[in-house]
Amino acid sequence: MKRTLALSLITPLAFTATGVLAESNYPNQDITIIVPYSAGGSGDTVSRIIADPLSDELGVDVNVVNRPGAGGEVGITEMANADPDGYTVGVFGYPDNFVVENTRDVDFNSDDDLEFLAQFDSTPMGIFAKPNAAYDDLDSLREYASDNPNALVIGESGALGLLSALAFESNLDVELTEIRYDGGGDLMNAILGEHIDLASTSSMSHDPIVDGGGTPIAFAAAERMDMFPDVPTMKELGVDQVMEVGRVMVVPTGVPDEVRDTLTDALDAISTNEEMIDTFLEADLPYNYLGYDDINEKVETSNKQFQEVIDNNADQF
């Protein structure tokens, strides 16, 4: 114990001049995962699921801290401003960062401040109809909505819910009335109580909504989900819309290459951990790992699509 203490006192002194040596030592202290949401949500769940295997892989403790507030803005800003030493990483649901920075005046810029390392799961957004609705598939919904412009009320929670709803409207060429809810629970209550007509929320809400008598219209997924083989994708129905929340890990820009590689290697290594994957599936999270290159490619194409929706609906943001 004494020796460790002495070492930890000496280490910074000894290696300040030779930074490279200090890095090759990485990691030699606890790693903190910042989650910009409160405990218990999906983003929090994902980071807690990966914390243990990551800690085993890297040989240091990995701690999750929650920094909720302003739709993820508070926590993501903190990630962006953290020391780029690899001891602070962030986990959040992409594209929360993109939505926040394109719709408000914020103190971070993802392109300059954040480096994406990996994606763990991706949950598509979907459109659900209330119980006893006069429409139960895309065609009947489109017909009803065209005949009654702005009459259908669509609830959404979170910026992605709104984006998905707006993209859906413009892709179908219909007009709906959007209403914002603070959280998924409130939104579910509203649709199951038939206080609103449609809900724009993620596939995570499928079971409670269907159990409560609601109907899934379609998912904005790239392909049909293994979990819900009966729900069509929008693409199959001729609507070109793919919108997924991907839980990603990021570091602040400026992390030395060796440190970043150590992290991405560790993530790649745990990505096939059966026990971890099972935990994802048990928690109803569609596991869909993307390594460094794949996630950066996805972010680039996705950003373009979101930018278009935001530009077309400037008044909403």
Binding site: S38, A39, G40, R48, V74, N189, L192, P208, D211, D284
Partner: protein
């Protein structure tokens, strides 16, 4: 229930999980600033390593325990550990000063026990129909419910202008931040931290804990520390409580019903029940001077909300409060899918959890009833030690909420304001009610306006669309009349 499930239920591990949860909950609840949501999120990672039914029961125990724990510090040192214990401070602390701390504490624990039992029994036997009932509450209905909460302010003591100022000040605080509907910034002064709004926790800490400590500093009598504490038999209190059957029943029912409603929270239930106690009391003039009826009403109501708040979660997978949302998250991590299929898919977990919640009530009663002797040792501690301890814990509590120094700053500023408000007789309770209800009233009204427009209805047409709305509107009017009458009586007795 399948009999084999009884075997799962009556195991030492299940009782131990309930007991440990309640104990943690009481401690967390008693510490200013740490409420159930914080306690549960702190313990959440630990439960991931436990069998699901035990882990979830532990969290349920924390939820139950913290609803009671706040009343201990509220009664003994006038520092409610949580806002739901505010009435316990208003009635219990005067009793402590009269040397009747134990009496107040026994009333609190037995009322909590009865309220908690009613809430859990309702959850066990009436979950499906009540969950359907809770779904009836749309924006219009919620608007009336929250409006009725504002009227309650009038029933609390304090001159009308001062109470009005307090509640408006609370409403003003609640408007800070990004507006939920239009997304515009309000009163943020370009400050990033203010955009996520001012949370109710630092406000409570400031008004009740920091302000109280600041006022204690100037009070000569407390410097010596320790009020004489008269002994009282548990049995005496229990028998006396039987005379308050109606009050217990009303508190439990009010707590149960309001606990069901998503997003409303326990604060409203507690103050509503307290108001009803004051209205029906033979001695309303003794309220806020140490009337046990206020404790009975408030403490039975807050524990009753625990069981009923779990109803929408279990039946529909809809969490109605921050605390239940965290429990929902824990269930999901444990691979438990919430909603109607829960009882078919994982009866082992579901039944152990819901029946195990009865154990949490038992554990709470045992810890409370036998711990009171030890709790009241707090009274022997010199104020010189209490003040810094409470101040540090309050600041820590404010920080822990979002790990934000800004919240600490808010708590301090509100604390100083609160101390000034006390000096001039502005009551703190209406401020809290304003902070809690402001966002509820506003979002539900603006949602109503948007939906009315979509349906081509006028706002009143939409608001009074359902029978339930009419009933709730009726309650608002009746409450208003009651409050006016109470005010008249108060004025008459004072005059």
């Amino acid at each position: 229930m399948d009999l084999s499930l009884l075997g799962h239920l009556f195991t030492p591990a299940v009782f131990l999980a309930a007991f440990a949860g309640v104990l943690i909950g009481i401690v967390v609840g008693a510490i200013p600033g740490l409420n159930g949501a914080v306690g549960i999120s702190l313990m959440l990672p630990m439960t991931f390593a436990m069998p699901p039914q035990l882990g979830i029961l532990l969290l349920g125990g924390i939820y139950m325990g913290c609803m009671y724990g706040g009343s201990i510090t509220a009664i003994l040192i006038n520092v409610p550990g949580d806002v739901v214990a505010a009435p316990a401070a208003m009635e219990g602390y005067p009793l402590t000063r009269q040397g009747q701390a134990r009496k107040a504490l026994y009333y609190s624990i037995f009322s909590s026990m009865i309220g908690g039992t009613v809430g859990v029994l309702v959850m066990i036997f009436f979950t499906p129909p009540l969950a359907r009932f809770a779904l009836q509450f749309g924006p219009a209905e919620m608007f009336f419910v929250s409006l009725s909460g504002l009227i309650i302010v009038g029933a609390l003591s304090g001159s009308i202008p001062k109470s009005a100022f307090a509640v408006l000040f609370g409403l003003l605080i609640s408007t800070v931040g990004i507006d939920q509907i239009a997304g515009t910034d309000r009163f943020t002064f370009g400050e990033n931290q203010l955009r996520s709004g001012i949370s109710v926790v630092p406000v409570v800490l400031g008004l009740f804990c920091i302000a109280e400590m600041l006022s204690v500093l100037g009070r000569r009598e407390t410097v010596e520390g320790g009020y004489r504490d008269q002994a009282i038999k548990r049995r005496t209190v229990l028998f006396d409580l039987m005379r308050h059957k109606m009050l217990l029943a009303k508190g439990s029912v009010i707590g149960t019903i309001i606990g069901l409603l998503p997003g409303v929270g326990t604060t409203l239930a507690v103050f509503m029940s307290y108001t009803e106690a004051k209205r029906s009391s033979k001695h309303p003039e003794t309220f806020e001077k140490g009337n046990v009826e206020g404790i009975v009403a408030a403490e039975s109501a807050n524990n009753a909300t625990v069981g009923s708040a779990l109803v929408p979660l279990l039946a529909l997978g809809v969490p109605g409060s921050p605390t239940t949302a965290i429990i929902a998250g824990a269930l999901v991590v444990h691979g438990v899918i919430l909603g109607p299929s829960l009882f078919q898919n994982r009866p082992d977990i579901a039944f152990v959890f819901i029946y195990g919640m009865l154990f949490t009530v038992v554990a709470m009663a045992l810890i409370g009833a036998y711990g009171i002797k030890y709790f009241s040792y707090i009274l022997r501690i010199r104020t010189a030690y209490i003040v810094p301890t409470v101040l540090v814990l309050s600041l820590f509590g404010a920080y822990s909420l979002r790990n934000s120094l800004f919240d600490v700053f808010v708590a301090i500023v509100i604390g100083i304001l609160g101390a000034l408000f006390r000096r001039v007789g502005i009551p703190p309770a209406p401020i809290i009610i304003g902070v809690v209800l402001g966002p509820l009233i506003e979002t539900n009204l603006s949602r109503s306006m948007r939906i009315a427009e979509a349906r081509s209805l006028s706002l009143p047409q939409y608001l009074f669309d359902s029978g339930l709305s009419w009933v709730l509107f009726g309650i608002v009017i009746v409450l208003l009349l009651i409050v006016i009458q109470m005010r008249r009586k108060m004025a008459a007795t004072e005059g």
